[in-house]
C-alpha cells in the first residue's frame, strides 16, 4: 500500500492508475577474453574487426567454449543479489537474423539460467530479482550514408542480464535502484558498469493498472535506447503520462517496443511486439551443461557490499549516513578510508577520538587528497589536528560558557533534537575563531550537555 501512496504523491495522478515497472539490465563482464573464445574482450577504442576469430565471427565450423571466469562472476553477482544459484544450468540458442549477430543465433540462457529469485534492498524497500543469466554480446553497428557498417570486436563479449520483477511503481525508485545496482556491481569488480562506455545498458518496461487491481496489465511497453539513469527516469515518467492519457480515453496502449528521444524527452514507436519474435530456443548442443557442486558454489564469496559498508560505518564508527554513503560510492575510496583508519589505530592509539569521523570528514570534504600514501595522509591529518589544538582549560571554559548562554539549544538537544548540538558547535567554533576540530568540539559538547542532565 505504501508504494501506491507514494506513486500518487510523486505524480499527482488522477488517482486512477498504478505504474507497473520492471527493469532489464545488461552489464558487460570485464573478463580478459570473450565469452566463448580467447579474443580480447576489452574492445573499447580498438580499431574495428581487429580482435576477431572464427568463433566470434561465426565462421563455418567454429565452436564455442565457455569462459570459466564469466560463469563464476555470474554466480557471484547472483549471490550478491540474494538469488538461488541453480545447481544445473545450461546455455541455449536464441535465433533471429540481424547483421550484428554473426551466427544467426545468440548463445544465451532460456529456461535454466544460472540464478533466479533474488532480493534487492533499497533503503526500506525491497525489489525482487527474477533472474540473472549469462550470454554473449553482438557486434556493433554504425549507420552511415546508405550503409550500415559492422564491427565484430564486441561480438562474443560476456554479458550478464539481470531482470527484475515489475515491482517498481515510480521513476524515482527506478533511478535510485539503478545507481545502487551499479555501485554493487562495481564493488564486485566484475564490470565497469559504465553507461557511457556501453558496459551497462538498461531497458525499462512500463505498464499501468487500475488502482486496487492486483492483476497484471494486459500489455507491456519496452523502452530502448536509454543512455543514462536520468534519461531512464525521464523515459519512465513520459511513458506513465502517455499511457495514462490513453487509458483515460478508454484505449489500451499497444504492446510494443519504443525508443527514447533524449533531445525531445519522449518515447516513439519502434517495433510492434504484436508479432512477437519466435526465437526457437533449444539447448546449445556445442556446450555441455553445468552441474555445480555445493563445495564449488560455497567457494564463491560475496565481499562486503556497499549497503553493508554503510551500515557498518554508521553503527560501528557512528558516521553520519550521508557521509557513509559518500565514502562508499567508490569502493577504492572506502578501502582507502579503511586502510587509513586501520593504520591510524595501529600507530596512535592515544589519539583523541573519534578518529573515524574526523578522517571521514577530511575525505568527504576533500581537505586532503587520497591519491597519496596512507601514511602521508595520516601525517597531514595529524598536522591539521595540531593546528586546531587549543589549550584544554581554555576549551573547557569556552564550552561551559556556550552551554550557559544557549539554554534553549541545550533544552532542544535534551528534548531529542539531535541537530541542536550543531548550533552549539557553530557557536563554539566562532568563539575559538575556527582554531579547533569541530568533531572534537561536538563530542565534548554532547558529553557536557548530557552530564548536566
Amino acid at each position: 500500500m505504501n508504494r501506491c501512496m507514494e506513486s500518487m504523491k510523486d505524480h499527482g495522478l488522477s488517482n486512477q492508475y498504478n505504474p507497473v515497472i520492471g527493469l532489464e539490465i545488461h552489464a558487460e563482464l570485464s573478463t580478459r577474453s570473450k565469452m566463448f573464445c580467447q579474443c580480447l574482450a576489452d574492445y573499447f577504442g580498438q580499431p574495428p574487426n581487429t580482435h576477431v576469430c572464427p568463433v566470434c565471427l561465426g565462421l563455418p565450423g567454429a565452436l564455442p567454449v565457455p569462459n570459466r571466469k564469466a560463469v563464476e562472476w555470474t554466480i557471484l553477482l547472483g549471490k550478491a543479489l540474494n538469488c538461488k544459484i541453480n545447481k544445473i544450468t545450461k546455455f541455449d540458442r536464441k535465433h533471429y537474423f540481424y547483421p550484428d549477430l554473426p551466427k544467426g543465433y545468440q548463445i544465451s540462457q532460456y529456461d535454466e539460467p544460472i540464478a533466479t529469485g533474488g532480493i534487492f534492498q533499497l533503503g526500506k524497500k525491497t525489489f525482487r530479482i527474477r533472474r540473472v543469466h549469462l550470454e554473449e554480446d553482438t557486434g556493433k553497428l554504425i549507420h552511415k550514408g546508405d550503409e550500415t557498417l559492422v564491427d565484430f570486436n564486441r561480438s562474443g563479449v560476456p554479458l550478464v542480464e539481470i531482470v527484475t520483477e515489475p515491482d517498481f511503481t515510480n521513476s524515482t525508485d527506478v533511478k535510485a535502484f539503478l545507481e545502487e545496482l551499479q555501485t554493487l556491481i562495481r564493488y564486485l569488480e566484475v564490470s565497469d558498469c559504465d553507461m557511457e562506455k556501453g558496459s551497462m545498458r538498461l531497458e525499462p518496461n512500463v505498464s499501468l493498472r487500475k488502482l486496487k487491481s492486483t492483476k497484471m496489465p494486459a500489455y507491456k511497453v519496452e523502452v530502448k535506447n536509454i543512455n543514462s539513469f536520468r534519461f531512464a527516469q525521464k523515459a519512465v515518467e513520459y511513458e506513465i503520462k502517455r499511457q495514462t492519457a490513453l487509458l483515460q480515453k478508454g484505449e489500451t496502449p499497444t504492446q510494443e517496443t519504443r525508443g527514447f528521444n533524449e533531445t525531445k524527452g519522449i518515447t516513439f514507436s519502434q517495433r510492434s511486439k504484436e508479432e512477437e519474435q519466435d526465437y526457437r530456443y533449444f539447448p546449445e548442443p556445442d556446450i555441455p551443461p553445468f552441474v555445480f557442486e555445493t563445495k564449488f558454489l560455497e567457494k564463491v564469496e560475496v565481499p562486503e557490499l556497499p549497503h553493508e559498508k554503510v551500515e557498518r560505518y554508521v553503527s560501528t564508527w557512528k558516521l553520519r549516513r550521508e557521509e557513509a554513503l559518500l565514502l562508499t560510492r567508490d569502493k577504492k575510496v572506502a578501502q582507502y578510508f579503511e586502510r587509513v583508519i586501520s593504520k591510524l589505530n595501529q600507530k596512535k592509539p592515544d589519539m583523541v577520538k573519534p578518529v573515524e569521523q574526523t578522517i571521514a570528514k577530511l575525505i568527504v570534504n576533500k581537505k586532503i587528497p587520497i591519491d597519496i600514501a596512507e601514511s602521508e595522509f595520516i601525517e597531514r591529518a595529524l598536522e591539521k589536528r595540531k593546528k586546531h589544538e587549543v589549550d584544554e582549560k581554555i576549551l573547557a571554559g569556552v564550552l561551559g560558557k556556550i552551554v550557559e548562554e544557549n539554554k534553549k539549544a541545550v533544552e532542544d538537544y535534551r528534548g531529542g533534537k539531535e541537530g541542536a548540538v550543531m548550533f552549539l558547535v557553530g557557536q563554539a567554533m566562532r568563539e575559538l575563531k575556527g582554531k579547533a576540530d569541530a568533531v572534537v568540539i561536538r563530542e565534548k559538547l554532547m558529553k557536557l550537555v548530557r552530564r548536566d542532565q
Binding site: L57, A62, V65, P66, P102, R280, Y281, F282
Partner: protein, 461 residues
Amino acid sequence: MNLHELSIAQLTRLLEGKKTSPEEIYTSFLTRIKEINPKINAYLTVINKPELDYSMRDKPLFGIPYSMKDTYNTKGIRTTAAAKVLDNYISPYDATAYTKLKKAGAVLIGKTNCDAWGHGSSTENSDFGPTKNPWNRDYVPGGSSGGSAASLAADLCSFSIGEDTGGSIRLPASFCSVVGLKPTYGLVSRYGCIAYASSLDTVGPMARSVEDTALVLEVLAGADSCDATTSQSKPPRYSQFLGRKIAGLKMGIPKEYFMKGMDDTVASTIAKAMKDLQKLGVEPVEISLPMTEYAISTYYLIAPSETSSNLARYDGIRFGTTRRSFGAEAKRRIMLGTFTLSHGYYDAYYKKATKVRTLIKNDFENAFKAVDFIIAPASPTPPFKLGEKVDDPLKMYLSDIYLVSVNLAGVPALSVPCGFTGNKLPISFQLIGRHFDETTLLNIGYQYEQVHGIYERPRIK
C-alpha cells in the same frame, strides 16, 4: 604394384627404406587424379603443389597423401561443403583434424565432393554435380561423404577423412567397398568441420584396410580445447590391439534389422560374413533393439532442427553468397527444422524426439549388457542408380534405417567390405560397439580381413 594401390603401412615401409619419396607418391596420385577424376567427379578441389615438410620424416603418416570431405576448413584452400553458398569461400583457418594430420606428416591432395552441407545419402545433393561410383558409374557412391569414398576406391588418395551424422561415412564406404569408421561422438574434435547437426556430427577416417583406418584414427583422436564436446580421456594406440584373438566375443544380431525390407543378396552376404566371424570364435546372440522403427523419425526430426540453426550463419555478410543460393534439400531441411523448433511445436516435435532418442540410446546400453558388439548391414540395399531416389526425399531418408540409430546413441561403428552383388556392386557389414570401444571393432574388422582378404579394386576405364 603401383604406388597408388598400396596401403599406408606399405607406403611407410617404402619411404623408410628410401625405396620411394613423398614427391614420387604424390605424383603417382596426382597423375591418376587428372585422368580419372573427370570421370567420377570425386574431387572439387585438387592441390597441385603440395606442402611437403621433410622435418616430419619420423611422423607416423609422413608423405601419405589423403583427401578430405569439403566440409573441413583448410586455411588458404577453397572450402565449400559442396554448396553454392560457399562456392568461392577460401577458409581463413584450419580444422583441428587437418592440423593433426599435418602434424603427423600427412599431405592433403584435395577436397572431395559430398551432398551439400552433408544433407543426403547419395552425393546427388551436391551443388556441383554428383559423384559417380567407381565400380559402376551409373550408380551412386553413397552419401554424404561420397567423394571421399570414391576418391579412395578409385585409388586417388591413400586415405580420406569423411564425416558421419546419420551414416555419411559408413554408407559411402559400403557402396564403394572401402573401410569406414564412425568413431564415438566426442572422440575426434569437430572444430573446423562445417556443422550439419551438432549433437550427431562425427569426424572419421576411411581407408583401404582396417589397419590403415586404425593408424589414421590414432592421429585424429583426442581432446581438443577448441571443442567443448570432446572427451578428455586419452585414447589408446588402436593399431596395437589389432592382433588380439576375438574368440569368445559375443556378437549381437538385432532381430529388428533382419525382419524385412533387406535385399536378398545383401542378406545372404551379411549372413556369410557372420558365419566367417563365427569361424573365428565369435558367439552369435540374438538381441532386440525395439526402438528401431522410430529411428528414422527421430533422426529426421533432430538433425533438421540442428541444421536449421547451424545454417543460420550463412547470410552472405561476412563471407560466401546470400541465402538465395541454398539448394532444394537444404531449404527443405531448414524449413522442417524451423518448424520443429518453432513456438507451439517445440514440445510435440523437437523435445519429443530428444526423449525418444534416450530410449534409442537405452536400447544399445541394454544390448551391450549381453553382447560385446552388434553386427548389421550398412544399407538394406546395394548401391542404387543415379536419379533413382532423387525425386522422393522420404524414400531417400528411409534407406538410412541401419545407420541413424548409431548417431543418435553416439556409439562407434565400423563399416567393412564383405562382398558384391551379381553385377559387382559392393556390400559391407557394420560393426557397432560400446562408447569409446573402437579398439574392439577394429580388432574384429582386422581379424575378418586376415581371413577374408582386403577388398579388390574397381577397374576404372
